[in-house]
């Protein structure tokens, strides 16, 4: 490290700045460079790297302050400073150690003297606009490439106060005066640097993971088109794509000729909320006008199991001792039913609703004079990945004249797989279905559909003007306008990325994706079910990609079962997770459920994951948890 101390302050500034501005270094890379220090031909650069590595990695806090200071003092003239250190023949702004793909060569643009006001529609704004957008794309494609590179960390964790303090010159505060485009590009890099790579092959933390390239292209196009779904007039192509795609989804559900209705909504919770609203409108249309008090006391039924990804995190937050179903509960509260009129159904050891419990609770509610209105059958619970027995539930719904909704936010996508769709057997009997392509099908967020068997009822439920069927004004067929079906006014275009992915993969491609993820989870299940130090939370093969397990560190293996062991075990998953996040190598969720202490819930929806990543996860849990 002698070389480090001998470099001039000026040079150190240059390089510190270089990295702060241009690339994220993993500690691993920096360490390798430290070791190479005296043997490298590019001695100065590497010495500086190492120095920066020390500042940034080894004594992080001090390093951050120094780097932040250096960057602050140099950000406007970094181009000149870095110039002499650059490798020849590389584009300045895409100088990148991991560089492999062929790059655009373009004339250097000095963004330090350019501002947003110099871009289009400014006079002569076309050139800087194109250069600026290409720089942004450069940052984004680098990010994409690195997200698939297993030597890149999943995240570079910092606490809120660290980011708020202006880490390494990354200042989140907004100001009155504009910043240069150079600073804007730096902000873009920093935003990605301190974020989480949800597309990384070792990110398993959510139900929505992965970074589909076609889906990404679709989102870029959607933002460029910048319109909304309200009318055919302003979104002709997207409105038709939505219509065709919803029809295809209804065909896959099994409704005759794909007839029915539907919308893409801003997520599974809102889709589920739609289902409750529609059911209410179907049975008690007068509520729309007169309010909830115009009807008898209505009750909703749903599994006691936690469904959605967020719910998992809520469960984690509150150390749930009882099981809850949040999205239907939230809908019940919001729509004026009241939480206590959402009745939770008991589940078996695998997390599936027990139909006899539903029937008993329906009868009990009726005896109290309540009206059973709506049953939610979950196809793929959040934690266990359980599929409720839809046919049995449908029988009860028919018998008691209740609306059957299937919440397939997580599990609905299994309909695309010949091998696995039997798990949703009976779904064609549902009145409505939630299905989130942004979860198991790898579509970028957000993409959630509410599908309804009865045509026209969405419109009836949500339109503010009954009975308008005749619009002489417009020159096109306004039945294509969707605005009055929605509770939203402007509605984001969520369809295009999904449509494009379907075009690019075909139905067969989605099937392969789903089968592959389920195969991977089977691999994980088989690997750990008899492995020392592991215990499964429920017995038998998982129905979905959810694999729930405890890792039991050696120190706990000989403690007899009992409260003390439970208390100890409860702390294991959070500790391992915290270390994972600190080291940034992988991410997986955990939570307690019912009387079960904190356990890991592994889910796989990322098409980049392989068996090697599963092996890595297990190795990592053991490495981090071994000495607990």
């Amino acid at each position: 490290m002698q070389a480090v101390n001998s470099i001039s302050a000026r040079a150190s500034q240059r390089v510190a700045l270089h990295f702060a501005l241009f690339q994220i270094h993993s500690y691993h890379e920096i360490n390798i460079k430290c070791r190479k220090l005296n043997s490298s031909p590019k001695r100065l650069v590497l010495a500086c790297d190492a120095w920066y590595g020390v500042a940034h990695g080894c004594t992080r806090k001090l390093g951050m302050k120094i780097c932040g200071f250096l960057q602050k003092n140099n950000s406007l003239d970094e181009r000149n400073i870095i110039g002499p250190l650059k490798e020849p023949q590389k584009n300045q702004l895409s100088w990148d150690h991991g560089e492999r793909a062929p790059r655009c060569r373009r004339p250097d643009t000095d963004f330090s003297n350019l501002f947003a006001r110099d871009l289009l529609p400014a006079k002569n704004g076309e050139e800087p606009t194109m250069q600026f957008l290409l720089e942004v794309v450069d940052i984004l494609t680098n990010y994409v490439r690195k997200s698939f590179d297993r030597s890149t960390k999943v995240l570079d964790f910092h606490h809120p106060h660290q980011l708020l303090e202006g880490l390494e010159g990354f200042n989140l505060e907004l100001s009155d005066q504009p910043e240069s485009l150079e600073q804007i590009l730096v902000d873009c890099r920093d935003t990605l640097k301190y974020g989480v790579r949800t597309g990384h092959p070792r990110f398993f933390n959510q139900l929505s993971t992965g970074l589909d390239i076609i889906g990404l292209a679709g989102e870029w196009l959607t933002s460029t088109a910048n319109t909304n779904m309200f009318t055919y007039e302003i979104a002709p192509v997207f409105v038709l794509m939505e219509q065709l795609t919803l029809k295809k989804m209804r065909e896959i559900i099994g409704w005759p000729n794909g007839e029915g209705d539907g919308l893409f909504s801003p997520g599974g919770a809102i889709s589920n909320m739609y289902s409750v609203m529609i059911a209410r409108y179907k049975y008690f249309p007068e509520i729309k006008t007169k309010g909830m008090c115009a009807a008898p006391r209505l009750v909703l039924f749903t599994s006691e199991n936690v469904r959605t990804a967020c719910c998992l995190i809520i469960a984690q937050l509150i150390q749930l001792k009882t099981q809850h179903h949040y999205s239907i509960m939230k809908a019940g509260a919001a729509l004026g039913f009241g939480k206590e009129n959402v009745i939770l159904l008991s589940t078996d050891e695998r997390g599936r609703v027990i139909p006899a419990d539903l029937e008993a609770k329906v009868i009990a509610a009726k005896q109290k004079g309540y009206v059973p209105l709506f049953v939610n059958a979950t196809a793929g619970t959040t934690v266990y990945g359980a599929f409720d027995p839809i046919n049995d539930i449908a029988n009860i719904c028919e018998k008691y004249n209740m609306w059957l909704h299937v919440d397939g936010a997580w599990g609905g996508s299994l309909l695309m797989s010949r091998k696995h769709r039997h798990k949703l057997s009976g779904i064609e009997r549902a009145n409505s279905v939630t299905w989130n392509p942004h979860k198991m099908m790898g579509v970028p967020l957000q993409c959630s559909a509410i599908l309804v068997r009865e045509k026209g009822i969405l419109q009836g439920c949500n339109s503010m003007c009954a009975g308008y069927l005749f619009q002489p004004d417009k020159q096109y067929d306004v039945t294509y306008d969707t605005g009055d079906k929605a509770i939203q006014c402007g509605r984001h275009v969520d369809i295009f990325k999904f449509w494009l992915m379907w075009k690019a993969k075909g139905t067969v491609g989605f099937q392969q994706h789903i089968d592959k993820c389920l195969d991977l989870s089977e691999y994980l299940y088989k690997k750990i079910k008899n492995r020392e130090g592991y215990e499964m939370v429920f017995q038998g093969e998982p129905q979905h990609t959810n694999v729930c397990f405890w890792y039991i560190p050696p120190s706990l293996r000989n403690i007899p079962d009992g409260e003390e062991k439970r208390e100890q075990l409860h702390k294991v998953a959070p500790k391992i997770k915290a270390m994972m996040m600190e080291s940034g190598t992988t991410m997986v969720g955990y939570q307690p459920q019912g009387d079960k202490v904190n356990f890991f819930r592994m889910v796989i929806s990322n098409h980049a994951a392989t068996t090697s990543d599963i092996d890595f996860l297990i190795d990592e849990i053991e490495r981090l948890g071994h000495d607990l």
Copy 2:
């Protein structure tokens, strides 16, 4: 046109295909080329252009069929066919008549043999991934450039059945088998080709217009990061950005130290729905558990004026004879209040709520035993752009202990302007505010904030688990997790583009943007208020950028006022609008309101618009409407 007939079928195929694949020609350009036909040095190409122009433009239906046929038969080998016609030294896939910006040079990739499965995470997928994304960006940057070019059409209108029939080979149907990346790129081009350029300087149809380059870059980054706002854990940077930006917005509203609460939601209607839910929770928290029937009959008050963009279109659809306020009405129906408990307030001739009418209706409701809960004051109505007198309304709310919400979805942005913020005087007395940066501030869709003065109440209202304040598990401060405040589970990242625009423009930049748009509308108002053939819908200078007017064709000018004239006049705006869309030159909205027959509503939020575009609009209305 002799030359046209003499070109070989093969050559015509080549060029038709070339255009179908690569660029949108305006009829104007084609006509110019037709005229130049015999003088051009590139005779063959232009002859083909002209031929295509004839096929595409002059006898559109036949032309479409021919082009579709040609494209269908060539789409997989277009590269070889086009090759000989290409200009030298141009990148093949960015060959473009309007080409000016310096382009990336990159090796040709044959996308016809590549599929989604060949992209990352496929082995060796990096190279095709980068090439594919760069091609997509090429398409998008071309689109951006042309959107600001006034010689480009705003839209190329087709009826739903035309697009569904597979126009020019653009097939919307989804299939089982994957399509090549070449076809996917064609699909991207076609999607943009048949869409509407909402960023075009002459698109005035919606409250949300324009294409901000920084905002666009922000959206591209957001899609690449592909995460959601539920927890700090998976969106650390975005969660903090949201927090800081909401604080800044609350400071601008005038709440002490910017204290309070808030969220970005999927649009103004949902933000308004939040406000009603929070008010209900504040006054009757037991409703969350017990439902609406646990409380007395609650009533909500809102202006009879139509607010949101969509509402305008609903109004247009249903030929509204009475005025309605949809988003509060929709919220009232959805949340279980019932539409008849949403009481509409009379407005003055400028569309502003009359405070005395509010007080009278509050008293009347109380006399019936109802409980007045919530008043919505609109800051910027959709049609008139009217600002309700907030201070007067706040006095009444304080007197009768009601929640005051300000719906500033459209007008809230005027708070950023020193010159115009007085129109929202009293907003600091509101309990909650809706403010959509995606409207007047030019932020890409979607970006809507619900802001609340009382801290913690969002959490109380929407959390499913009262009283959790202690989370020993996570290693970071989980008060930053926002999930339990929302009615959604996963929540889209809407903040980044807005934050980035604020950085890039500064507060002053937004102020300039708003002042400029208001100046433009003043220019329009002054131009037409005394012009022959125009009549203003309301007198006096508009408060917002909304300018509402009738154009009266010469044939109607001498008809005496009366029902016949009204009937005739009612048809004028729809006819002109239909012709505008057919010619694709500009777009502006119209609607009836109250007893007023269809009139144009001009709004300006696009920073690309200039006085020349206003002049163009007026010329165009007169050109199209002169002979009606």
